[in-house]
Symmetry: C2
Subunit: 723 residues, 2 copies
């Protein structure tokens, strides 16, 4: 498909939980901090028409009716003489073109070009990196530039960039100081430039700044529309450079008290934009380099989805600092804003390992320290409980509110569907994240420091299989006692039983197999041969159980041994972990798990057919019994199919998936995950599409470390090997 | 009129720019900080029905549809088993009764009583008062209690108080610590109790907390409805006591950087509510005492309007601290949120002199330091300018954004109506506020420290009369050069020319006379006889000009000598200043200004008639040519009519004025000022009704200092005399 022009996309700094989201027509974008969706603000980006002084054209990111209404509240009897005739019209749709890369979003209309560059970079470890690198990576700013080609023009023409803020607490303001003119709302958002010819103004209408009757009138702070205005002389092509800054001061969370880490170096938003203006050229140069590489190496559909998803992820990241100065890394779950949802962490893992593996360690450590609990387990329908063990919570809280130790904001007892516990899945997720962190970084000190926890994880996993060792089959068979009379679910919480039920689930079984197989050498390294043997045995049992479940044609059931015959693509998901861990040997057709690999590959070939796991448009359908498909997981499964099974890229599917994102009902939410028959009904404005980074993994082993260099074109800073 | 039951009213701490506003049916109230209107949150206040366990009745302050929608965003395919059957119904309207005093808002429904007590107190001077008094006065909290009479009940019954927060940045949370259970949103709002039997819960529905299937499920932080729930045993009457706290940390303003002063002692909202719970009984006792006095001394209409207006004023107050530790007092202008609008300060003056005159000094000093400018002046239509002098801005900025030195957020050049300059009126306002501050406090040090400024004020006033001394008539004749080709306006900015034009305006002329007359002894005290003589001469000229303007019947024109024959009630406004300054001699019929006083009184008697300055409902119409009447100014003029002219209280008018506030289209905004034919179209949710405090001034002189003792029943702390 050809992407439409008008769809929202994030443009986000890293770690600031902030986004300049725009692209839809109307007041559907804006500058947001910690929001669950776009800020819904009027944006004004435009230029005076050539040959029509006093008439302006603007990109269509505003509706304008609201300002009209606000002014009337002051002028009760309508006696006004302060109004300005409207003189801005939006460009016609067909005059507007857009080129969206991962780094740069470029809009052209007439002789105007507006470009936004997101901060593209890894986040170095705050506990060891030099301050200069940290400031560069974490400055809560992005970059914009507005170019007007007036080379053929006979008159000076004004160009403008501004907005109408939506914050409930503060009005708009501007300032001029140290060679910088800035505009924004409250202490939280600012747009600034160091161009000495630019002036600022605030009014009820953009016209009040563009066509101000008196220079003294520019600072009409009752108005909610602020503009920065520059003048392009005739015969010149001129570019105005802007930094867009976000800022929140002080402690911002409850439960655990933490501040944004960037407040170490930046004391207010004015300082953010001043600093960012010194990084403007670098940021655009880096973004251009990346976009050129992506254009060369990915299909247009994948390049667009990759950038779209990556920036949605960055917009959800929050790099905080605890009271003791230690960093705390959070990814907020899009519109839901749950913090470090563990079943998203395990998907964002590939991105974070490639870019900043310390964040994986940081999240694992916080889970180990505060978001773990001990439970007992029981058989479905039974009342007797058996020893369980350690488990991890689904998340750490929601929207700046940390949940209590040992509790997520999400999990509830007594349920069988959405909001039930994910004890076993999050336990498996901890194991997989830990194993891949270790395989990627070789951080043996960390492994040794967590020896007891690794042992407890294995004990808990086998307890969830069967209380009697000789009845174990490698697959989860008991639910956590925290479920009360309910039962555990998987990350596919809103799907039907085929993917929603955790116990005996095929998807979870394959991930569990990967966890056992990758844990085994950890125990060997730790000098715990009994545990290593147990992990190895469980991996073998699990593989056997899965292989034995295939029917005569080779189809695997969604739920093993429970008569749920739905067909799943995510049967293949778990294979990604050994592969990324550099353990292709575990996936070899002639290796110890050759039968498992062949069974899963055969199953995949069977289900990826129309009427089973393909939608009519060619998009991938995760479960044959559900209309709800998840793009983040599709991206991941595409990687398994292509790199492990060697299948050709399904370009028709890519077009369909992009088509879902670009559906007119979905474009408001930028990148969304859950697609119910192609419509985003949940998991919108979402970070999990960071799995698309797997598309950039070059064939070979170990496969992930190249991605960092690919994206950033700089030396890979952290040692990588497998243990 | 009988007030309806359901109308919004503020319940506000002092100096926190915060309000628990509620009273309208539906989600039209809530907990707001720095907002321009109600927070629009669902409130849940109710009780389990007697004899129907599991069924609840609640006050009708919620609509509930929103929560339904939020839950569905997680459950894409509608597979939910987490929902609860609805079990709360609102009380019928006719079961609900309300008794609203100034201090206490009491609701009764069935055997439930819900009472809210606002903090009623003066604010002692932060530069000299003991910390304990300051904490008491400025703790950003109010108080509530919920009583259930279960003496006839056979079963234990649950009682609850909670809400669904509207903050965009944070989710709901609760905590239990140090014997307190608290509930709130983010770090900004909390409800807490020290009742050990109360528990808290969060969910998508209030039912999730009331009828929770498992105790572990209570902390479902994805939900946005939080409740505190207590249990009333059978046979008992039980009262649950709550503190409601507001909090904003760190620097909250721009232009000038300032924090809330209460952050000196309270580091977070948890500390606010802990402290407030220790003050709960005192707060209710004080509020009850005040309400009893008001009930005895004021008509029901005036008692209701007084409390309604006073709490709206408190909700707009903001006591800040500058970087150097000095206090900064702000009153935000209701829905407009302009800061310390000077033409409101001069009306709120009476309240502040009675309660905390240091705030008047604080505002005057900030105006003198930063919000003053020098202009030139010119005749209407002329292009030549003449010396002007010092003037003061209309305000200090808006909604936490301080304007630049010498500029308001409001005033614009080139206009003749709303948003034009108020240079002369604000100059007069500075003089009147300063004179009354001095007459009330006897603060001679302050006068001496401002000797130059007092001199400059007089020079500027006479320059605005006429450039040639022998052509002066005591009345403003020239507009500020800042108006460009426009002209100055008065505080009645949205009215027609009769009150809106400043030059030669009758309303402003009488205030100017008062300023000259009250300035004269200041210059004498300062040893500046020439200035004293000039002030005295100008007062005499001004009085003569006004007296001479009366027509044969005794009517005064709205604009002197410009053919604007509209009739004004505010002709009498300026008489309040000499009276409150203890200078009844200036108003004596046989005194030096006896003719002026008689002329104005005669005019008032003539215009206060149907068809001129009375609306058909008996309400006062400030200008005979406008439908727009302002309650704050009416209250003030009522005081002049009753105390200076000795007229009987116009009880029919009081009923009409209350009727305007209680119009179904107006009740959402609590107390509003501007009434266009009885409908609040502007100046809503407004502080200016603090002029109603004049109703409490006992006859006699000096007249204002008794009000403090009346309201607070404690010794008057500041020395009072006239100089």
């Amino acid at each position: 498909m050809t992407a439409p022009t008008f769809f929202n996309s994030h443009h986000s700094p890293i770690g600031a939980f902030a986004s300049f989201t725009f692209g839809c027509k109307g007041a559907l974008g804006g500058f947001g901090i910690e929001l669950k969706g776009p800020a819904n603000e009027n944006l004004y980006i435009g230029v005076e028409e050539s040959g029509r002084p006093g008439k302006y054209k603007a990109l269509p990111f505003y509706d304008g009716a609201e300002n009209e209404r606000i002014a009337q509240e002051y002028d009760i009897e309508g006696l006004r003489d302060y109004q300005y005739a409207k003189c801005i019209t939006p460009f016609d749709d067909k005059e507007v073109s857009r080129r969206l890369g991962a780094g740069i979003d470029e809009w052209k209309a007439g002789d105007l070009t507006f470009r936004v560059a997101s901060a593209m970079g890894a986040v170095p470890d705050p506990e060891s990196a030099p301050i200069s690198e940290l400031k560069d990576a974490l400055v809560p700013a992005i970059y914009a530039e507005l170019t007007i080609d007036n080379r053929l023009g006979a008159n000076p023409r004004k160009a403008f960039f501004g907005y109408a803020g939506s914050d409930r607490h503060s009005n708009m303001r501007f300032w001029r100081e140290d060679g910088i003119v800035g505009l924004g709302q409250g202490r939280n958002v600012a747009i600034a430039t160091d161009d000495p010819t630019v002036y600022a103004g605030i009014g009820f209408q953009p016209e009040a700044t563009l066509e101000s009757r008196h220079p003294d009138n520019l600072n009409f702070m009752l108005g909610n529309v602020g503009l920065l205005v520059g003048i392009v002389p005739p015969g010149e092509l001129k570019t105005f450079r802007f930094a867009i800054g976000f800022y929140r001061d002080g402690i911002v969370t409850t439960g655990i008290e933490a501040s944004y880490l960037y407040t170490r170096w930046f004391k207010k938003v004015e300082e953010v934009v001043s600093f960012a203006l010194t990084r403007h050229q670098d940021a655009f140069a880096r973004a251009e380099t990346l976009d050129a590489k992506l254009k060369a190496d990915l299909s247009p559909e994948r390049a667009l989805m990759f950038g779209h998803a990556l920036r949605s992820y960055f917009g959800a990241t929050q790099c905080l600092e605890l009271g003791d100065g230690k960093p705390l890394w959070l990814v907020n779950e899009g519109e839901y804003r749950m913090m470090n949802t563990f079943d998203l962490t395990v998907d964002q893992l590939f991105h974070e390992l490639a870019l900043n593996p310390w964040t994986v360690r940081n999240v694992l450590d916080m889970y180990a320290k505060r978001y773990t609990y001990e439970d007992r387990v029981k058989f479905p329908g039974g009342s007797e409980t058996y020893p369980g063990g350690i488990a991890f919570t689904h998340d750490m809280g929601v929207a700046n509110a940390f949940s209590e130790p040992g509790s997520s904001c999400y999990e509830q007892g007594g349920l069988r569907g959405v909001f039930s516990y994910m004890s076993c899945e999050e336990l498996v997720n901890w194991a997989l994240c830990a194993c891949l962190y270790v395989s990627h970084t070789g951080d043996e000190t960390w492994v040794e420091g967590h020896a007891k926890l690794f042992a407890a994880v294995l004990e808990s996993l086998v307890n969830r299989d069967h209380p009697e060792p000789n009845k174990r089959n490698g697959v989860m068979g008991l639910d956590s006692s925290r479920c009360k009379n309910g039962s555990e679910i998987t990350t596919y919480d809103s799907l039907d039983t085929s993917l929603g039920q955790a116990r005996n689930n095929l998807y979870l079984a394959v991930k569990t197999w990967a966890a056992y197989a990758l844990l085994q050498p950890i125990y060997e390294k730790l000098g715990q041969p009994a545990l290593a043997a147990l992990a190895g045995k469980q991996a073998t049992l699990c593989a056997k159980t899965i292989v034995a479940a295939a029917d005569d044609d080779g189809y695997l059931p969604a739920v093993l041994g429970e008569g749920i015959e739905a067909r799943l693509i995510p049967a293949i998901e778990g294979l990604v972990y050994p592969y990324v861990a550099g353990r292709a040997d575990l996936l070899a057709q002639d290796g110890p798990f050759g039968e498992l690999r062949k069974t899963i590959e055969r199953h995949f070939e069977l289900v990826l057919r129309p009427g089973i796991c393909l939608f009519p448009d060619g998009g991938w359908r995760l479960s044959s019994t559900s209309r709800n498909s998840w793009l983040s997981k599709i991206y991941l499964c595409q990687f398994v199919a292509e790199q492990i099974f060697g299948k050709a890229k399904d370009t028709r599917a890519d077009k369909a998936h992009l088509g879902w994102l670009m559906d007119e009902d979905n474009v408001y939410f930028a990148w969304s995950d859950q697609m119910l028959a192609g419509k985003a009904h949940g998991s919108r404005y979402y970070p999990r599409g960071a799995t698309a980074i797997l598309w950039l993994v070059p064939p070979g082993k170990p496969p992930i470390q190249e991605v960092h260099d690919y994206i950033f074109g700089v030396a890979h800073r952290e040692r990588v090997h497998t243990i």
